[in-house]
């Protein structure tokens, strides 16, 4: 049952990922991306991690995908129709980066160690029973705690074992934010919408020398 569900969800996920890459229309690609994120959330549910699934939906569908769509709407090509395929010259580095990410994920997941220590991989693991049993291995107790109290466990792990990775990710996001502002903020453009300055010039006292530049950069 679970393995059939997994296969179906994984197939949907792979199809959606392919659709994201191959779709000609930008908004359609975004929609495929949403489907892919949703498939990942379903996989989290299959792993009994409903907190992670909710966070996945909240962050990736509720925030990232929406902002992606909103970004598309703020460009000139509002309907996303004019998108052409990526030139071949960009495909090779893209493919290379994709493979690199895949390799990092494979290595990372294969070498992940539970707090109770390293244990061999199994194809399937059953859900731990609710009541603790005697002489059960430590990882079963850990699993039970993680399933039943996931937000707390994740919070503690992020603040102790993975604190460096957490901080680095935070730094990366801050850098991305600063970069986005630096890209979007244009100091020296011509006054694009001189409405406010023009009106101020008509009615109020003449603005100082530095002001028109400042207000046009804002508008």
């Amino acid at each position: 049952m679970a393995s059939i569900l997994f296969l179906v969800i994984a197939a949907i996920g792979v199809a959606a990922a392919l659709g994201t890459v191959l779709s000609r229309n930008l908004v359609r690609a975004g929609l495929y991306l949403v489907a892919f994120f949703f498939a990942v959330a379903c996989l989290f549910v299959l792993l009994e991690a409903e907190f992670l699934a909710a966070i996945q939906v909240l962050v990736y569908i509720g925030a990232v995908a929406i902002l992606l769509m909103f970004g598309i709407m703020l460009t000139r090509d509002t309907l996303g129709d004019d998108t052409t395929a990526i030139p071949i010259a960009w495909m090779v580095p893209g493919l290379f980066m994709g493979l690199c990410v895949f390799a990092v994920l494979v290595v990372g997941i294969n070498n992940s160690i539970a707090p109770s220590g390293w244990s061999p991989w199994e194809g399937t693991t059953s859900r731990p029973s609710l009541a603790p049993r005697e002489s059960e291995p430590a990882w079963i107790a850990e699993r039970r705690e993680a399933v039943n109290d996931m937000p707390r466990v994740i919070g503690v792990e992020l603040m102790t074992r993975y604190v460096v990775a957490f901080e680095v990710a935070g730094l990366l996001l801050t850098a991305a934010l600063v970069g986005a502002i630096a890209l979007a903020h244009r100091e020296d453009v011509e006054p694009r919408a001189p409405r406010a300055t023009a009106r101020a010039a008509e009615t109020g006292p003449p603005p100082e020398a530095g002001e028109p530049v400042a207000s046009s950069a804002l508008s």
Binding site: V57, L58, G62, M69, F70, L79, A196, R199, A217
Partner: protein, 424 residues
């Protein structure tokens, strides 16, 4: 002395509620979920929504000195059924240039998001569809699907007004989601859990969350942001009929339009339910007493009695919120779009951020001792009350100063203008 007596009285308000418990996946659980799905989600909630529409028409009519629907059935009570039949039998058109699949998918997405919110709301003891340990996050996650549906509706219609409406909707919903989520943090902090059932239980022990200054502020922010999240007046810019026809659902007809309509009223109902659970102690009739829940014995009769009281009070509270939303709609005009965004980002977000610190103070003073006492409550209220009032005053004062710094007719001041002012 009085304090001691009150302590005794409040001490009796212990939690007897069915605590949040993990669920085994057996046949009974599956049966319960199936029952919820069939009875609750297919019959009860749509029925409630249908009669909310009737109620809104009646209430709005009273406000405008009219009679409202009174032709179909006594008091127009069969009007929702007639409307539903009309909507179902109407022709469903899809514009020729529209993106057909997305156009059909969008209203379903919006409706699903509205329905899924109801899945974690505890209506009474044991009367909760699914008690997720991280119910609050789930709630926020599924309600964040609405902007996506609205965006797709507007985008797939290939209509300028639809696109404008969708753009307004996404900007508004994303902006107001931030204060709404931040306003729920105090509640999660005080309950020490994200499960709505645990949050309900904690309010039996420590009084309704709204009866604390940070709770009151969070409640106000949550309610305002909630009204904005469901696109109702004064925040109905995405479907402003006097400016952009009907916004994102301009091109929808028949039952697909009906789905948007259903989703809007369902969201109103859901927001009212969530507010009741998070801030008004669910179905308990008195703020600091565990009243109906502490009568709970082992017998089925007591469970039914307690749940009857809880559900009745719960529905009364929800009805009150629904009425308040109708009232606001009948009273206030639509906001201007720049003021809408300013209100979210310059008033609500800073206030809700500050409120998290005040909630921490309240936690240390009242909830950390482990038991609600009158002295702790009074001191906590005094200290956090002063903090909250000062914060609200400060935020409003700062915003007013910022606005005054620019001449009339200028662009609304932003952080950059403030920086420019400072630089000069």
């Amino acid at each position: 002395m009085a304090g001691v007596v009150l302590d005794e009285a409040w001490g009796s308000a212990l939690a007897f509620a069915a605590h949040s418990q993990p669920v085994e996946l057996n046949l009974r659980t599956w049966l319960r979920w199936a029952l919820w799905l069939v009875v609750g989600f297919a019959v009860v909630f749509p029925g409630i929504v249908a009669y909310m529409v009737w109620l809104e028409r009646k209430v709005a009519a009273r406000f405008q000195d009219r009679i409202g629907p009174n032709r179909v059935g006594p008091l127009g009570l069969l009007q929702p059924i007639a409307d539903a039949i009309k909507l179902i039998t109407k022709e469903n058109t899809v514009p020729r240039s529209a993106d057909r699949i997305v156009h059909v998918l969008a209203p379903i997405l919006v409706l699903t998001s509205a329905f899924l919110v109801m899945a974690v709301v505890p209506f009474a003891v044991g009367l909760v569809p699914v008690d997720l340990p991280s119910g609050l996050v789930y709630l926020i996650a599924v309600s964040s699907l609405t902007p996506l549906g609205i965006f797709l509706a507007g985008w797939s219609s290939r209509n300028k007004y639809s696109l404008l409406g969708a753009m307004r909707a996404v900007a508004q919903l994303v902006s107001y989601e931030a204060p709404q989520v931040l306003a729920t943090i105090p509640v999660a902090l005080w309950a020490g859990s994200l499960s709505l059932v645990t949050i309900f239980d904690r309010q039996l022990e420590f009084g309704w969350n709204v009866f604390s200054p940070p709770g009151l502020l969070a409640f106000a922010i949550f309610l305002i942001a909630g009204v904005a999240e469901v696109n109702r007046t004064p925040f109905d810019l995405p479907e402003a009929e006097s400016e952009i026809i009907a916004g994102y659902h301009t091109e929808y007809s028949g039952m697909r339009f009906g789905l948007f309509f259903l989703a809007e009223y369902l969201s109103v109902f859901a927001v009212s339910c969530v507010t009741t659970v998070l801030f008004l102690g669910g179905g308990t009739p008195f703020p600091f007493l565990g009243f109906p829940v502490n009568l709970l014995g082992d017998s089925t009769a007591s469970l039914i009695l307690v749940n009857l009281i809880l559900v009745t009070v719960f529905l009364l509270k929800v009805l009150f919120f629904v009425f308040v939303m109708f009232w606001i709609r009948a009273t206030l005009p639509r906001m201007r779009v720049d003021r809408l965004m300013n209100f979210a980002w310059k008033y609500l977000v800073p206030l809700s951020l500050l409120n998290i610190f005040f909630a921490g103070v309240w936690y240390e003073m009242v909830i950390r001792p482990g038991r609600l006492t009158f002295g702790n409550w009074l001191w906590g209220t005094l200290v956090t009350g002063v903090l909250v009032v000062a914060a609200v005053y400060l935020i409003f004062l700062l915003n007013r100063k910022l606005a005054e710094a620019k001449p009339i007719g200028a662009d609304w001041p932003s952080v950059a203008t403030a920086a420019a002012e400072l630089a000069r």
